[in-house]
């Protein structure tokens, strides 16, 4: 198809598509007038039923916990897919690989990176631990922890990053994170309840320990997402590895 024909087909189909979408949104409630009832029910019962103060986390890791398990496995499968596709290069001859010479780094960049790396990792863990109470949770904390290790690459290059993100260590940890989510859910079955029932002591709302399994699942997701990001960024960084 030529470029001109492509634009014409697009232009012709855009008009009905836009009309269809506008017809669709015209049936929604006016902005700012959410009618309920699901959100209002969660807001009303979340505190006394689950002792959690962040309702979005309570929905994700408890009321809708089964869906979030699927979400975690989407991440898992995606990381496996990235590794499978990119590792194919190891079978090829190395002359076709893009190489980029390791550039000199200013001392200030190196020092600042190694100061920031532990701080950002601790901040990510804090985000996950306080998921039931404040904005945050396992996914957000995991994304922060997983990408914090890019500071090692920024500060001193491939070797430092490879030393931290050793695949032999990170891969089992990722699998453990994925397993822990199902494991926490399965314990409920052995206790005679339904899958992913909140069976842990609920603690006090607003404290670090609150929400029962919400808290535990946040840790599992932190592990899975953090190591997943570390693996995926590591695979992409290997693409521009300097020649040995």
């Amino acid at each position: 198809m030529t470029d001109r024909a492509r634009v014409w087909v697009m232009g012709l189909s855009f008009v009905p598509l836009a009309a269809f979408l506008i017809w669709g949104i015209s049936g929604l409630n006016a902005f700012g007038f959410y009618p309920g009832p699901y959100g209002d029910i969660i807001n009303a019962i979340g505190d006394w039923q689950r002792h959690a103060w962040n309702m979005a986390t309570a929905v994700n890791f408890d009321y809708r916990g089964f869906d979030t398990m699927g979400e975690e496995y989407i991440m898992f499968v995606s990381v496996v897919g990235v590794a499978l596709i990119l590792r194919e290069r190891e079978l090829e001859d190395k002359s076709s690989r893009t190489t980029l010479a390791e550039s000199e780094r200013a001392d200030g960049v190196g020092v600042l990176s190694f100061v920031l790396l532990p701080i950002v990792v601790v901040f990510g863990i804090y985000m996950a631990l306080h998921g039931p109470n404040t904005p945050g949770g396992g996914f957000q904390g995991g994304a922060i922890v997983g990408t914090a290790f890019l500071f090692a690459y920024l500060g001193s290059g491939h070797k430092a990053f490879a030393a931290i993100g050793k695949t032999e260590v990170v891969e089992p940890l990722e699998a453990l994170g994925a397993l822990a989510y199902v494991g926490i859910g399965l314990v409920a079955l052995f206790l005679g309840d339904e899958f992913l029932t909140n069976y842990l002591p609920l603690g006090t709302a607003g404290n670090l320990w609150s929400g029962g399994t919400i808290w535990a699942i946040n840790i599992a997701v932190l592990l899975e997402i953090g190591t997943g990001f570390l693996l995926a960024t590591g695979e992409f960084l290997k693409e521009i590895q300097p020649p040995e």
Partner: protein, 116 residues
């Protein structure tokens, strides 16, 4: 009319991303256009759950449980949406590298098997 503007913004972001996807000449650009299209779903979800003069569905000492709040279900869905978007982007960018390795190009027009 002004009360439907946020939804219209979502439609506009969706269509502008689709326009970029149709006319793209670079796979990386295409992946980013897909990400723009997906951003429209965040706008739509959060707009549906919004409520006037209401805070975030997160309780604290100053906003005790039961304070006026927007819909937490939409926030949870947006989070799922963002995670799925990130994973899809990672996978598509890896595929882009594979295409570049095989054909030495990132132009969708040159990828024979993708020609329509």
């Amino acid at each position: 009319m002004i009360l439907y503007l946020p939804y219209a913004v979502a439609v506009w972001v969706f269509l502008i991303g689709l326009y970029g996807l149709v006319t793209t000449r670079n796979f990386i650009h295409a992946v980013l256009c897909l990400s723009v299209m997906q951003s429209s779903t965040y706008i739509l979800l959060l707009s549906i759950g919004f409520r006037r003069h209401a805070g975030a569905p997160i309780w604290s000492q100053t906003t005790p449980p039961g304070s006026p709040s927007v819909d937490p279900v939409m926030h949870a869905l947006s989070l799922t949406d963002i995670v799925v978007g990130a994973t899809v982007m990672a996978l598509l960018l890896a595929m882009t590298m594979q295409v570049h390795r095989k054909t030495n190009s990132v132009d969708p027009r040159r990828a024979r098997s993708l020609q329509g």
